[in-house]
């Protein structure tokens, strides 16, 4: 009988690189990973069950708490779902404000990704750069919505308040600066040899597996599939804006990283176009005082992580009968079991970081 030479390593749940509370059981052969078994649920709050006891407008506050960096996009998905079930036409100004906020939050999500990735790999400087710039975006968000993380700013039918005076000029000035900021990020990290050796060709995800697993967002696009819901099924006036969808070729860690830096540039274009062409008019449509939904529908948007879906079943009540949040990170996290076997234990952290998840969204 052969002697088993592998050993088990329990990583997490309180590991600093796990971006929340997440545990992996790793089976190691020397320094190579043989098997990875993820354990999750430490942050499960039962948001879907809770939502069944809340009225439709109250649920917006719950969607904020799925992902701290994507709150605007999650609010947007939910509001669009309810609006489309009620047949509400959202005023153009509100649609543009929503797009602008969603893209600003995509930029700051990718800034967190960039800073955290550098930090996980032992480079602390990128973190200070990206969080300084993220602060600028958070200041805009605070000025517009009154909050820095849990905004509760979108409403069914539009947005809560109009934009403060003069903010659009400052946002445009920021978008002019952003390409230089991203250049700076690339200069900081992209060419670093130690960084490259832990990114290039590590944890390659194939096209077929990505599609079969239901992966969406930057991870799907890094494998070479050009699929973006903003282009495939435009919502909230995305068809008005010119932007391209960056696509990778190999599907390794480096592709996932480069793609997000490019996405920041593209989001920046959208923010600028929205701020410059902001139409005048109403900010909220006429909505019934008490919202009751009869019927069902699945709606999805492209958040920074991937496809955020909301499946609402209403039975003619003030509260939904069943609501399902399909969170992109929950699905994307499944790649770990497939890409980790074979990599070095040190690169597990790099791979995990490039998946870019927030455990609050995974566990709901």
């Amino acid at each position: 009988m052969a002697i088993k030479t592998t050993q088990f390593l329990n990583m997490g749940p309180q590991h600093p690189s796990t971006h929340g509370v997440f545990r992996m059981m790793l089976e190691l052969d020397g320094e190579r990973v043989v098997m990875c078994q993820p354990h999750l649920g430490y942050l499960h709050r039962g948001i879907e069950k809770l939502a069944e006891t809340r009225t439709y407008p109250q649920i917006i506050a719950l969607t904020d708490r799925l992902h701290y960096a994507n709150a605007f996009q999650n609010e947007l998905t939910y509001c669009l779902a309810v609006e489309s079930l009620l047949g509400i036409e959202v005023p153009k100004r509100a649609q543009y404000i929503r797009v602008m906020m969603a893209e600003l939050s995509r930029m700051q999500n990718h800034m967190i990704f960039f800073g955290a990735l550098g930090m996980d790999l032992g480079a602390l400087t990128p973190f200070f750069y990206s969080f300084k710039d993220r602060e600028t975006i958070l200041d805009f968000m605070e000025e517009i919505s009154g909050a820095r993380l849990t905004f509760n700013y979108f409403r069914i039918g539009g947005v809560k308040e109009d934009l403060p005076e003069g903010i659009l000029d400052r946002i445009v000035a920021f978008t002019q600066r952003l390409p230089k900021i991203v250049d700076e990020y690339e200069a900081l990290l992209s060419g670093n040899e130690i960084f490259l050796s832990r990114m290039k060709g590590i944890s390659v995800l194939s096209k077929e597996l990505a599609v079969n697993l239901g992966i969406t967002g930057p991870i799907l696009r890094s494998t070479g599939i050009e699929y973006d819901i903003r282009k495939a099924e435009p919502y909230s006036s995305y068809e008005d804006f010119e932007f391209s969808v960056p696509v990778g070729t190999k599907g390794d860690n480096l592709d996932r990283y480069n793609l997000r830096l490019q996405e920041m540039r593209e989001s920046n274009k959208i923010v600028r176009q929205a701020a410059e062409r902001m139409p005048d008019g109403e900010i909220c449509a006429k909505v019934p005082k008490v919202i009751k939904i009869d019927g069902e529908g699945y709606f999805r948007t492209e958040t920074s992580v991937g496809e955020q879906g909301v499946y609402i079943i209403g039975a003619g009540d003030k509260t939904p009968y069943r609501i399902k949040f399909r969170s992109p990170a929950f699905v994307n996290l499944q790649i770990l079991q497939y890409v980790l076997p074979g990599v070095l234990v040190a690169d597990v952290i790099a791979t995990f970081s490039t998946v870019d998840i927030c455990m609050g969204e995974v566990d709901r």
Binding site: K49, L50, K207, E226, K324, F330, V331
Partner: protein
């Protein structure tokens, strides 16, 4: 990198599927009626998307066809369970990355000893979705390779998303 995807299709899909246009719900309905006839229990267009009901025995066959035929529903988007009162319902949302059309597949199963075949052999992405649905609604997915709890702790009793599981503010 634009256009790369059109020249290098994945082996799962026929080459012409990439240039093919999305089919309307009615066209998909007709294609399925032709292939399965009575096995599609019911079909309905909800919000411009086709929803079909199949029995638990035919689920794997229908989903394999949806994925491997020229309909190319290769992307599992979402899977969830609903407590409909007298029965439980599992809802599969599939879409096609290549053809960009969508379908909803629904399976009704009895409340007592609910059982449905696992879609893991067809879509690996069903893995965690099924584990979550199983623990939340008490459904057995036969053939699932790893049927442990996912989000709830192992010794958790009850099925939280069933309607008879009450929260403390509901009782």
């Amino acid at each position: 990198m634009k256009g790369k995807i059109k020249t290098s299709p994945t082996p799962d899909d026929k080459a012409d599927a990439f240039s093919a246009k999305p089919l309307s719900p009615e066209e998909i309905e007709a294609a399925l009626a032709k292939a399965f006839g009575q096995k599609i229990q019911q079909s309905q267009v909800i919000n411009k998307e086709l929803a079909i009901w199949v029995s638990a025995e035919n689920l794997l066959e229908v989903c394999t066809f949806l994925k491997e035929s020229e309909l190319a529903f290769n992307h599992p988007r979402c899977l969830c369970g609903v407590d409909r009162g007298e029965c439980l319902e599992i809802v599969y949302h599939l879409c096609s990355i290549t053809r960009k059309h969508k379908i909803t597949v629904k399976v009704k199963i009895p409340r007592e000893k609910p059982k449905v075949p696992s879609l893991y052999p067809v879509f690996k992405g069903a893995d965690w979705h099924e584990r979550e649905t199983a623990e939340m609604l008490g459904i057995t997915f036969t053939g699932h390779p790893d049927p442990r709890h996912l989000l709830l702790r192992e010794d958790f009793e009850g099925f939280p998303l069933r309607k008879d599981f009450l929260l403390s503010n509901q009782s």
